[in-house]
Amino acid sequence: MKVALPLYPTMIVVLLVSQLPFLLTLWYSLNDWNLATSQDGPEFIGLANYAEIFTEPEFLQAAGNTAIMTVGAVLISFIVGLLLALLVNREFRGRGVVRTLLIIPFLVLPAATALLWKNTMLGTTYGIVNWVIGLVGIPPVDWLGQHPMLSVIIILSWQWSPFFMLILLAGLQSEDPSIIEAAKVDGARSFDRFRYLTWRHLRPYSELSVVLGSIYIIQTFDAVYLAAQGSATTNLPYYLYQRAFRGLEIGQASAMAVIVLIATLIIASIGLRVASNLLKSTEGRAS
């Protein structure tokens, strides 16, 4: 093994900056420490915080909500992203403008997105969505009150579809047009060409977009905090925030952070494997 001496100072800094806070979190998670009431500071209690978390219905509900929210938003974003990618993969006049416009939701600040949807789009009295459904005679719906989870999923899908579109579009662009041409000559219908050729070619890109999208959407905070607070939409990041800053339960919140970290790492490691497979296969094709 080679010793790359000049790299070590950098590595030490990186380790300190990235791992020290984590070690502190681990330590806090073993303590009973409430900022408002623990006058004597942290008190070591072992794994009691972890035991408490897993028996707490709120935590389990928040975990369930996180799963529903993530799966729902990823699914919708993927389908919408795929349709958009297929659309802008075609040649037509103004394609560049359309592509740019479609990416915009991804570039809007998440906090702005949440407030925009809460007030301008989903507002009960003045919201655009209610105005539109009012045109066909549907009475106004209290979106955020009656359907909080659906509302959050809609907001997230709007925000993340462009991300899926970008990855899938990259996949479509890398498809060899001569194969499609050959299939056309052989008389394959357009749906079959998609199903048997394009879809297969897209598979690694789909996997990558789903894994990356899941990692991002699992962390959703803005949409919940700003647009739809309530038990029905409380996901893990928001619940963690509440435990830490409303409840000031630093020990308990740290334990939750550790659990969320482990869950995210599992998904992330799947993601890394997908990404490296993708790299390998493109390299293989290039050579």
Binding site: S18, T124, L144, P237, L248, S254
Partner: protein, 490 residues
């Protein structure tokens, strides 16, 4: 990721090592290729919730020396996004003219965010603020944790301030062990506002002392969905400052309490359940659209734009209702006392106050700020500059001797009466805690919010009062031991 945010707190000079539990962000960046993207995302998330904290920590870093060389002291003040503080910010140039050696920088946040930010800052000793705006829930608790600086010495020196003029019910909530910790800039109880013109047109009469049953009946008769007119607006958002602010006075009115003397949860008692049912009935059947997400600003808009015939809220709302700049119903509103049921000592008591943090190195300049905006002269200044209906209400007895104020503010007498009536130490039956709008316990922010969620969810889910009460009691039971320990430890 929301904690992976060390820059917001630890860059502040007083930050202790323990500022905040970090999370996976740091971990992840060392291992994965999408780290850069992820970092932007994390920054964006953090930015969304803590933009102001970032700004603040930035500015503390630059102003951490007690006095700058030119003799001008800059103090940082945290204010809540409520109309009273909008007035204060608007009149700050007058303050800076009166005290040329003090400059003021503001951080303005919505109530809930403000509370989170402040608690987190003062609890970790990293608060960048010299002056904080807080309520009577925080003052004694924070004073006990030594997060606030007592102001008795300043009060003794500053004879012009005349603290004896402050309304006693308000002043007594701002003390701990006979030491004063804050100056009120606005105080309020609750009252029922109603559209006199609509009531007259419909031939309806508001009783002099309405009950909640009267209110439900009136709401049914006055509401007109075809005209987009709701019967009543009540706060319903899932936070203790929203749905619980509306429900707590009702629980009091119906004779309910939160804990009995042995710290047994009491929100599923028949009295409490009756109150919750009455609240849910009003919200579901006569409330404004989206009532489960309505807070003070939403109700203010609905009522002043003619979309609600009644509004039960803080007496301080009158200032906005009678302000022609924001209200289209000026002069058409009647004011009734907070509705009652079996117990009539209810209502709520809340005040907005200015206090000096114990970590501030500019306490002398901070006191100048407190004494200016807590003074009698400031009441007159608001009256003359911004309109008398906006003058700070229920902080000083002398305010109610100003004829211009009494004329411009038709809600003034109701407001004063309700504040006088509100006594946070009195409950329908004996309780081990104080407080009628909130429970004076450090964990109330926490369990109050959890109960508020249950209530807010029930508006749309259709859960019964008994179900909400049972769920609330389960939450209260979990906190009972902590609450008892804290109360006994005093």
């Amino acid at each position: 990721m929301i904690f992976g945010n060390p820059s917001t707190t630890s860059s502040s000079p007083n930050a202790r090592r323990h500022t905040m539990p970090p999370t996976e962000e740091g971990q992840f960046m060392t291992k994965s290729s999408p780290a850069a993207l992820r970092r932007y995302r994390a920054v964006a998330v953090v930015g969304g919730i803590a933009a102001s904290a970032l700004a603040v920590s930035g500015c503390t870093a630059s102003t951490s020396t007690p006095d700058s060389s030119d003799g001008v002291t800059t103090i940082t003040v945290a204010t809540a996004a409520v109309p009273q503080f909008d007035d204060i910010r608007e009149l700050t140039p007058q303050f800076e003219e009166a005290y040329p050696d003090v400059k003021v920088e503001y951080v303005n946040l919505p109530e809930d965010q403000l509370r989170d930010q402040l608690t987190q800052g003062v609890a970790t000793g990293s608060s960048p603020f010299d002056v904080v705006s807080i309520g009577p829930l925080e003052v004694p608790l924070w004073a006990q944790n030594e997060w606030l600086a007592p102001i008795d010495d300043y009060l003794a020196e500053d004879t012009e301030f005349d603290e004896g003029d402050i309304i006693p019910a308000v002043a007594s909530g701002l003390t701990l062990n006979d030491q004063q910790y804050a100056v009120p800039i606005s105080a309020e109880s609750s009252m029922l506002m109603y559209r006199q013109d609509l009531f007259d047109a419909a031939g309806l009469q508001m009783p002099e002392k309405p009950t909640w049953a009267d209110v439900a009946q009136l709401a049914e008769q006055i509401q007109d969905p075809s005209q987009n007119l709701a019967g009543i607006c009540l706060r319903g958002d899932a936070s203790w400052g929203a749905s619980m602010a509306a429900l707590n006075p009702m629980i009091n009115a119906f004779g309910g309490i939160w804990y009995d003397e042995d710290w047994n949860p009491q929100l599923s008692s028949p009295e409490s359940v009756a109150a919750i049912d009455a609240y849910l009935n009003l919200q579901r059947n006569y409330g404004v659209p989206g009532s489960s997400t309505a807070g003070f600003p939403e109700c203010l808009t609905a009522f002043t734009q003619g979309q609600a015939a009644m509004w039960f809220d803080a007496t301080s709302a009158g200032a906005s209702v009678e302000n022609p700049e924001v209200s289209s119903v000026v002069g058409q509103v009647g004011y009734a006392p907070a509705p009652v049921d079996s117990w009539d000592g209810n209502g709520w008591l809340w005040s907005w106050n200015l206090a000096i943090t114990s970590t501030s190195e500019k306490q002398d300049a901070a006191w100048k700020y407190l004494s200016f905006f807590g003074s009698k002269d400031y009441v007159k200044l608001v009256g003359e500059e911004l309109g008398w209906e906006r003058a700070p209400s229920a902080t000083r007895a002398s305010t109610y001797q100003i004829p211009e104020y009494m004329e411009a503010a038709p809600f003034a007498q109701t407001s004063l009466d309700m504040v006088d009536l509100a006594d946070p130490t009195q409950h329908p039956s004996e309780t081990p805690y104080d407080g009628i709008l909130f429970l004076l316990l450090p964990a109330y922010q926490d369990f109050g919010t959890q109960v508020a969620k249950e209530v807010s969810d029930a508006i749309t889910s259709g859960a019964s009062g008994a179900e909400v009460g049972a769920a609330a009691d389960a939450i209260l039971a979990r906190f009972a031991e902590d609450n008892r320990e804290w109360a006994d430890g005093e």
